[in-house]
Amino acid sequence: MTEAAKPIRLMYFAWVREKVGRAEELVELPGGIATIADLVEWLRGRGPEYAAAFERAEVIRTAIDHTHARANAPIHSAREIAFFPPVTGG
């Protein structure tokens, strides 16, 4: 894994999207962010809207490149990471 910053697309859905105030964004992650949990910690520090959205981080689910992922999942090869509440379809 190279430490050079590369853009990752972040997607937000449902009330996570409403609280963050945007549906998606491209970000360049600083070095040292290896997992989903690291990314959440970094996002929380980006502003009050992120802090509010991720206040109850324990209920938020994630997907890496369209596949459900766990908090300890590595993100070094991810192109798109999504954050959303537990799903309620069907």
Binding site: T62, H68, A82, G89
Partner: protein, 162 residues
């Protein structure tokens, strides 16, 4: 085997006909249709809006369908899920399973719905007469419903919080 995600309504009879037409190997067809529930006593609902994650939704439904086809001897299957703003009574989701015998079709249809409800990236928002919106909470019983298939589970569950 196919999945569709669409804003438009679906016609259950036409979908069954398209799936079974011209075939004589199918002996059992099970359909499940989910519809929008209307008011509850303390909770008037005028509409429901389904948001989803284009790209992942189709991928996830296809994974769930492939899993069902691995577990049961299905001859065909279809999942149709709607998104957008729906009214009470409107169709939301259709699952069709076809097999030579009923048990596989029944079980696979139930499995598809249980898995879809816990995995497919859809979120419901209920709108009231005053224009207020409220995101529907995930129900614990839906998680329990999916866990009964755990013994031979092969798809990772999205149950780990961050």
């Amino acid at each position: 085997m196919s999945v569709r995600v669409q804003a438009d309504d679906f016609d259950i009879g036409a979908e069954v006909k398209a799936l079974t037409g011209g075939r004589s190997d199918i002996g059992a067809v099970v359909t499940f249709t989910g519809t929008v529930r209307g008011d509850t006593p303390d909770h008037p609902i005028t509409s429901m809006t389904l948001e989803h994650y284009p790209g992942m939704t189709e991928a996830e439904l296809a994974r769930v369908e492939a899993e069902a086809n691995d577990r049961w001897p299905l001859l065909d299957s279809l999942i149709v899920h709607r998104y957008g703003t729906l009214k009470p009574g409107d169709n939301i989701v259709l699952v069709i399973t076809a097999s030579a015998h009923r048990q596989a079709a029944f079980e696979a249809a139930e499995f598809l719905m249980d898995y879809l409800k816990s995995r497919a990236p859809f979120w419901k928002k209920e709108e009231g007469p005053d224009g207020s919106g409220r995101w529907v909470d995930a129900r614990e019983c839906d998680e329990k419903a999916v866990s009964r298939w755990d013994k031979t589970r092969t798809l990772a569950a999205p149950d780990d919080a961050i």
